[in-house]
Amino acid sequence: MSAPAAPEAARSDRHDPYALGRGGHGGGGHEATGHGEGGPAPKRTVVAYGFWIYLLSDIVMFSGFFAAYAVLSGETAGGPTGAQIFGRGRVAIETLCLLLSSYTCGLGSIAATRGSRPATLGWLAATGVLGALFLGIELQEFAELVNEGAGPQRSAFLSSFFALVGLHGLHIGVGLLWLATMMAQIWLKGFRPNVQRRLMCFNLFWHALDIIWIGVFSIVYLLGYRG
């Protein structure tokens, strides 16, 4: 073992000894991302990033259901085809509901950033009403299909249809429960940091569900309608 390093060298070792990712500042405060300065990220960033990873894994799970639908969409076993059971009017209304609810949800997050409790609660209530409308229309469609004998047990095509669209509807239903919880927390607790983080995660969740719905109405309904 050699002698202990000189004090000068020891001090620079406490910083990044390999000078990784430093742009000629000699370990000085570089502001750009990824340069390791400033310690761990704020909790708000860490929480949202973790939730972002969850959302991406959720989308990967949806991709499995999309793949099943894409493979099985022609296997109607003599039952009704997509062109026979899908109407575009109802899907257009559903799409409009979900898109507008995404918009009101975003306006709600802006109101929360401003710190305005009535505006936040109002926009979140509008989001909830639009989401509930979407879910109601979807359940009505499911009930009609089952009554016509086109339930999930009729053919592989209908099984995969009910699994994919039903999974999305389940997410919307859980999202509505979460929305009600968030409204209660904002009502009772106000904009505490942890409530704000939860609200941000809910916003991400709701926007991600709208992105998945784009895939559903394009691939299932619009392409299925053409047969």
Binding site: A48, L56, L99, S109, L222
Partner: protein, 130 residues
């Protein structure tokens, strides 16, 4: 950025405050996004129902419009940008998209070939037993 007290460079997905000076920020950003999404949705529904478009191109057009609308949602609603503060978010998103494409594309590719080969077998059996 540091003007608002954000000393750290990474921004969370969906964060309002950090992107406050970009086009996709604030209520105006959401309104632009809503308008673009409405136009793309309307185009999608119109193309699916019209006879004016060359019919074999319709599925491709619908999928392209869907991808475009997903991009609009990502930028204007989720505030995912190409800026350096969003590098982690975009890398995670890119990996997610890769897995999604592999799962859907791989399933369709394999099952199409399988169906094609099964079809051949059925035809061959029909020819063998007239």
């Amino acid at each position: 950025m540091s003007k608002h007290g954000h000393d750290h460079g990474d921004s969370a997905p969906g964060d309002e405050r950090i992107n406050a000076h970009e086009a996709a920020s604030g209520a105006r950003g959401y309104t632009i996004g809503l308008g673009l999404a409405l136009v793309l949705t309307a185009l999608s529904f119109w193309i699916a129902s019209t006879d004016l478009v060359w019919q074999p191109a319709v599925p491709t057009a619908i999928i392209v419009l869907a991808v475009a609308q997903m991009g609009v949602h990502l930028v204007f609603f989720l505030h995912v940008t190409t800026g350096p503060d969003n590098a982690n978010n975009v890398i995670a998103l890119a990996f997610g998209v890769l897995v999604v494409l592999l799962v859907i594309g791989g399933s369709m590719w394999i099952m199409t070939h399988l169906n094609h080969n099964m079809q051949m077998t059925a035809d061959a059996m029909k020819m063998r037993m007239p």
